[in-house]
């Protein structure tokens, strides 16, 4: 195992630099053109302990791939992942083991992420045994406590149940319990409430928040739903075709976007309190990731695109209020407010 490279005094837990993942399609025995999909194409961000970063964007923007790369569930093609001061980008599976315990994933689908035949108590105890942290009896005891903690009570009644005997919301509690039993420092939650009925989302989010406070957990919360992102996150990164196009404090970015794409997303999301708002419409649908537009990837859909947007790719740069926006002609401060009133 490599030694700790440097002692980072600040509370940065995770630092991602220039992360890339390209998938190659076709060109196999069936022939056909080899095509490259740039799923994640140069993503960088830092996260502090206890912080929640929402990764948002439309399907195909690279948010889920980014989450999986950071946990080293996928091999990055380029870039660096520094976790607690250690570069884990190129570690072998064996070297990664102690880190695996500290970083966990919560998946979207509580039906698919649990073994349908395994009693849920055993599913929750299992990671303790796999990581050699407890013997069978001790693991069971801890799993019981965890069942209580996530509200599946009385725990003795729930321990031996199998997933099909639970509701969707209860299953997601099991998935969370299984991730949290190792007391991780970092978790990637991929759309953890999008398959849960609306009336039960609050309690699942509450549960995550509780663990977060208790463990000082840093969380990447992947969602397509901006209104959920606003509830849970401190910071938000809006992704488009493999890149972060806007990043900053969640309210600043969502309520006062400087990137036209963020403004389009924010005004498109259905809202009860602003039912008759004016939408900022953009053209068409997300481009084919195998055939990215030149220049700014968003320019073919952008209502404000100018000539050089089609030739020069914008970098993320700091705006006067400290947030980062990748746009040659960012919206003015307070744009959305005026737009919605006008």
């Amino acid at each position: 195992m490599p030694l700790v490279h440097e002692v980072i005094v600040v509370s940065v837990l995770l630092s991602v630099r220039g992360l890339k993942k390209y998938f190659v399609q076709g060109g196999g025995i069936l022939g056909g053109e080899k095509e490259v999909v740039k799923a994640v194409d140069g993503v960088s961000f830092d996260m502090k302990r206890g912080e929640t970063l929402a990764l948002v964007g439309e399907s195909g923007c690279g948010k889920t791939t980014t989450g999986r790369l950071v946990l080293r569930l996928l091999e990055p093609d380029d870039g660096e992942i520094i976790f607690d001061g250690v570069n884990i980008t190129h570690m072998s599976m064996k070297e990664l083991r102690p880190f695996r315990r500290r970083m966990q994933m919560i998946y979207q689908d509580p039906y698919a992420s649990l073994n349908p035949r395994k009693p849920i108590g055993e599913a929750i105890a299992e990671p303790l045994i796999v990581h050699g942290l407890a013997e069978k009896e001790e693991a069971k005891e801890q799993a019981m406590k965890m069942l209580e903690r996530v509200g599946l009570t009385p725990a003795e009644d729930f321990y031996d149940r199998i997933p099909s005997q639970l509701s969707g919301g209860q299953r997601q509690r099991v998935v969370i319990a299984r991730a949290m039993i190792l007391k991780p420092e970092f978790v990637v939650a991929d759309e953890p409430v999008s398959m849960i009925d609306v009336s039960m989302r609050a309690s699942i989010l509450e549960l995550l928040k509780g663990f977060q406070e208790e463990y000082g957990l840093a969380m990447i919360f992947i969602t397509h739903d901006l209104s959920v992102a606003r509830l849970v996150a401190d910071k938000i990164a809006v992704m488009y075709l493999g890149k972060i196009i806007e990043y900053g404090p969640v309210d600043k970015v969502l309520r006062d976007p400087r990137h036209p794409y963020t403004a389009a997303l924010a005004t498109a999301a259905p809202s009860i309190t602003m039912r008759r708002r004016k939408r900022l419409d953009i053209k068409g649908e997300i481009a084919d990731p195998r055939n990215l537009p030149l220049g700014c990837r968003f320019h073919p859909r952008c209502p404000y695109a100018k000539e050089d947007c089609a030739s020069k790719e914008p970098e993320l740069r700091e705006m006067d209020d400290g947030r980062l926006t990748a746009c040659h002609y960012p919206l003015e401060e307070g744009f959305l407010d005026h737009w919605l009133k006008g």
Binding site: E58, S59, S167, G168, G169, Q170, D197, V198, S199, M200, R201, A202, S203, L205, E206, H224, D225, L226, S227, V228, R230, L231, L254, A264, L265, A266, A268, A269, P270, S271, I272, T273, M274, R275, R276, R277, R279, D281, I282, E285, I286
Partner: protein
């Protein structure tokens, strides 16, 4: 009295499963006014999709419509011969489903699939003529006519849903039922598909029934909302009244559960779990989760009460 496009009277749909009878839709009575956009809102298991299928008499076995009347244009759909019902489907009442990829045949050109509708319903017997009409139908939903020759996989998700809508409105039905038509799509595309439905509704003088789990989407688009819980319509009325002053505690709970980009930065949720419809609670099906339950709620089932221009099924209003 507004004229209704369809009127449900005491409609019940049960599923006869090995583990018991599931009352998926339980004695639903309501009127859908002609030319309106009406949403059925509910969570999983509320019966909203089953009710939509019942309107077309397409409830799959082991489900069965066990009682009631569905009056459409003066006819009771439930007593029509199947042959007559088949003529109505796609012509007078059409449906659009959630996933455009599974509703389209992947190996046939989209134009042919729309053209089928004209041929099946005897508008023409000539495929050339039908394809010409299909081209016009595509243009009506905002897709260039030359895409009649595209296969579904050559279109984006939003365009595929437009193709299905084109097929559904090809014969200018008086009622279009859309079951979660945008759930698989991103928000920007969703907004445009909903715009399209609204435009078509006006142009073709249709009524639209939207089935959705998203009360915010329903609130933005509907004239009227029916909130469903455990197979029952618990509240039905004009959208503004329901959003601004929900009468049923479940409606209120649902509204307070929906995160909102422009609203408060917290949501409440509703305690507990939805009921097991094989073994629903006695009395009001919502009472175990209801913050306002009182004496009669766990004993007597509430009937429907009319409160102004709304109907609500709750003991708070029965006296």
């Amino acid at each position: 009295m507004v004229e209704s496009v369809v009127r449900l009277e005491d409609v019940s749909v049960h599923y006869y499963t090995f583990t018991g009878v599931v009352k998926a839709v339980d004695r639903v009575t309501l009127d859908i006014p002609r030319g309106e956009f009406v949403s059925f809102v509910g969570e999983s298991g509320s019966g909203k999709s089953t009710l939509a299928l019942a309107l077309l008499r397409l409830v799959p076995p082991p489900g069965r419509i066990v009682s009631g009347r569905i009056v459409f244009n003066g006819m009771d759909l439930l007593s029509l011969p199947e042959q007559k019902m088949r003529e109505l489907r796609g012509k007078s009442i059409s449906m659009v489903f959630q996933d455009p990829m599974t509703s389209l045949d992947p190996v046939r050109k989209v134009g042919e699939q729309i053209a089928d509708v004209y041929i099946e319903h005897g508008v023409t017997t000539d495929m050339e003529e039908a394809l010409k009409l299909a081209r016009e139908a595509l243009e009506m939903v905002g897709i260039p006519g030359d895409r009649v020759n595209y296969y579904p996989h050559q279109l984006s998700g939003g365009q595929r849903q437009r193709v299905l809508i084109a097929a559904a409105v090809a014969l200018k039905p008086s009622l279009l039922i859309a079951d979660e038509p945008t759930t698989a799509l991103d928000v920007i595309v969703q907004a445009k598909i909903m715009d399209l439905l609204e435009d078509l509704m006006r142009e073709l003088k249709m009524s639209v029934i939207l089935i959705t789990h998203d009360i915010a989407l329903a609130a933005e688009r509907s004239d009227r909302i029916a909130v469903m819980y455990a197979g029952r319509v618990v509240e039905y009325g004009p959208v503004d009244a329901i959003i601004e002053n929900p009468l049923h505690p479940y409606t209120r709970g649902l509204l307070e559960s929906a995160p909102d980009l422009w609203g408060e930065k917290r949501i409440k949720g509703i305690p507990g779990n939805p009921p097991d419809l094989r073994n629903p609670p006695r009395g009001c099906p919502f009472h175990p989760r209801c913050p306002r339950r009182f004496d009669p709620c766990d004993k007597d089932e509430p009937g429907y009460v009319k409160v102004d221009d709304r109907i609500v099924s709750c003991h708070l209003y029965t006296r």
